[in-house]
């Protein structure tokens, strides 16, 4: 791990200003992903701003009847919150499908959104990776590469990595909004749909945050009701990343929303695909995965996603 200096932030606006001012600075909250990457020297911040003392660890009700989840609410606390379990169970289900108990106790809401991909070639510093070392190439797209876990849609010639979060998939189905503070002290709200960027030619840019800008909360709209489900298919029954995961909110009239994890660089959902929900899983996935460009090794994810949703719809 490279040397770094360390400070504890006491105010969100000051923390954001400081992060913008110090070249090579990063925020640290739970640290469960950042420290892992620092040990491998994939992340090499020169200065860490510890945001754990900022408060931002409460879940409060919004004027619109929804909930505002502080950036530092731990994944365990969020999953266990009585209001989340009752009114947004798809989020609880998504959270407890991810990581291990130890990691969920430490990992934060904001950090979960900002975690990096688990693409094996991103992690292997002996391999080219456009996300880790821009312009070096994509080892995952080379002949014979191991791409079973990687993306099938929203990817590019430069990068086929997926966003690894389960939480974000549940939040996407719920139309969550990310709230931030900028280095100049301004606040803004970004729908989760627009928060993560597709790789295009710049896979190193993963979200719309400006230098120093910090997530302060994630807001959920008023409860939408319906039946909430989250099914995650993986190579191991627990503590493994998704091959495919499906978040489903379904109303009694058959309408609802569907978001996919494990297939794209961001939680994958479209209103056109949602509209097909009354017509069944094949109709939804024909729309949602239209334009998919899987590798030979991960083309099975299209069938797997369709069958997973079909199984969820058949359960009721």
């Amino acid at each position: 791990m490279r040397q770094f200096s360390y400070e504890r932030a006491i105010d969100p606006a000051q923390a954001a200003a400081r992060a913008a001012e110090v070249e090579g600075a990063k925020f640290i909250a739970g640290g469960t992903n950042l420290l892992d990457l620092m040990k491998l020297e994939i992340e090499t911040p020169v200065h860490l701003i510890d945001v754990n003392g900022l408060g931002l660890d409460e879940i409060t009700e919004t004027d619109e009847g929804g909930l505002r989840i502080g950036a530092l609410v731990r994944n365990t606390a969020l999953a266990a919150d009585e209001r989340i379990r009752r009114d947004y169970p798809v989020l609880t289900r998504a959270l407890v499908a991810g990581a291990s108990g130890q990691l969920r106790n430490k990992a934060t809401t904001a950090g979960n959104l900002l975690q990096r991909t688990r693409c094996p070639y991103f992690y292997d510093t002996a391999q080219p990776c456009n996300k880790r070392a821009p312009g070096s190439g994509c080892a995952a797209l080379s002949k014979g590469a191991f791409s079973r876990q990687l993306g099938i849609i929203g990817t590019s010639e430069a990068c086929i990595a997926t966003h690894p979060s389960d939480m974000a998939v549940g939040m996407r189905a719920l139309d969550a909004v990310v709230e931030t503070i900028t280095p100049t002290g301004l606040t803004r709200s970004v729908p989760l749909e627009e928060f993560h960027l597709l790789p295009g030619d710049t896979p190193e840019r993963e979200n719309v945050l400006m230098p120093g800008e910090m997530i302060t909360a994630v807001a959920l709209p008023a409860p939408v009701g319906g039946v909430h489900k989250y099914h995650k298919v993986r190579d191991r029954a627990s503590y493994a990343f998704a091959l495919v995961s499906v978040a489903l909110i379904r109303q009694p009239d058959g309408t609802g929303s569907v978001a996919l994890g494990g297939v794209a660089p961001k939680p994958w959902r479209s209103v056109e695909a949602d509209a097909e929900l009354p017509n069944g899983a094949e109709a939804v996935m024909a729309r949602l995965l239209n334009g998919a460009r899987p590798t030979e090794e991960n083309a099975f994810k299209i069938t797997l996603a369709t069958r997973t949703l079909a199984a969820m719809l058949a359960e009721e």
């Binding site: 360390y6 640290g31 469960t32 420290l35 266990a80 627990s238």
Partner: protein
């Protein structure tokens, strides 16, 4: 022959890490730290307040093992995948390898040494012995720290991936325990006996609650 102090012993891991400038794929950086590279913290470990000055890079795990000589907490993978380093901070189990010591100023840490020693075993430790819940024993401190926290999490109503109804009381079933222990790997494969040990303590606690 006396061995050199742990702090100065060269290790292959350290030597390799020091050479990564040579690797073309490693991230480059131009900026430099803007303040001290060490920090002084006060942390309460197993009930005793400790003041430590550590390199900012020191993990909580290394602070416990190398600075406080509390070597019960084990380093397995050092990447949060195996759970051997599990201890509790302010009551919550975490991977101590994925947390910086400097982030724990003012915190209360409990390690396996604080749970119980051979002359006075905690019920969970006694159950692991009784059920032969280990073979080589390397993962055991982490398994025990995790197992105690698992039963507390169930009692506190924290749901898991296998929890059915999210709105009712959660029972400490075998399925619940298995799922919640998935962050602790045992390469000897003592899982069935670990499960038996935890189940016994869960039953003891349930009987205690009823009595």
């Amino acid at each position: 022959m006396s061995s050199p102090s742990k702090a100065f012993e060269p290790r292959r891991r350290t030597l390799l890490a020091g050479n990564t400038d040579l690797e073309p794929g490693a991230a480059q950086r131009t900026a430099a730290p803007v303040g001290p590279e060490t920090t002084t913290i006060t942390v309460t470990v197993n009930g005793t307040e400790q003041e430590l000055t550590v390199d900012n890079r020191t993990t909580l795990l290394d602070a416990l093992r190398e600075h406080l000589q509390l070597t019960g907490t084990k380093k397995g993978c050092d990447h949060g995948q195996c759970g051997a380093c599990t201890c509790t901070v302010n009551g919550a189990r975490i991977n101590s390898c994925l947390s910086l010591a400097v982030m724990h100023d003012g915190d209360a840490v409990q390690t396996i040494e604080g749970i119980g020693m051979p002359e006075a075993l905690d019920p969970m430790q006694a159950a692991f012995v009784e059920h032969d819940g280990f073979q080589c024993g390397y993962c055991t401190p982490g398994q025990i720290c995790s197992a105690k926290a698992v039963l507390e999490e169930i009692a506190a109503g924290v749901p898991s991936h296998v929890t059915g109804d999210l709105t009712t009381r959660i029972e400490a079933t075998e399925a619940e325990i298995r799922e919640r222990m998935s962050g602790n790997i045992c390469r000897c494969g003592a899982y069935s006996n670990i499960l038996a040990a935890i189940t016994e303590v869960a039953e003891q606690q349930a009987q205690g609650d009823r009595a």
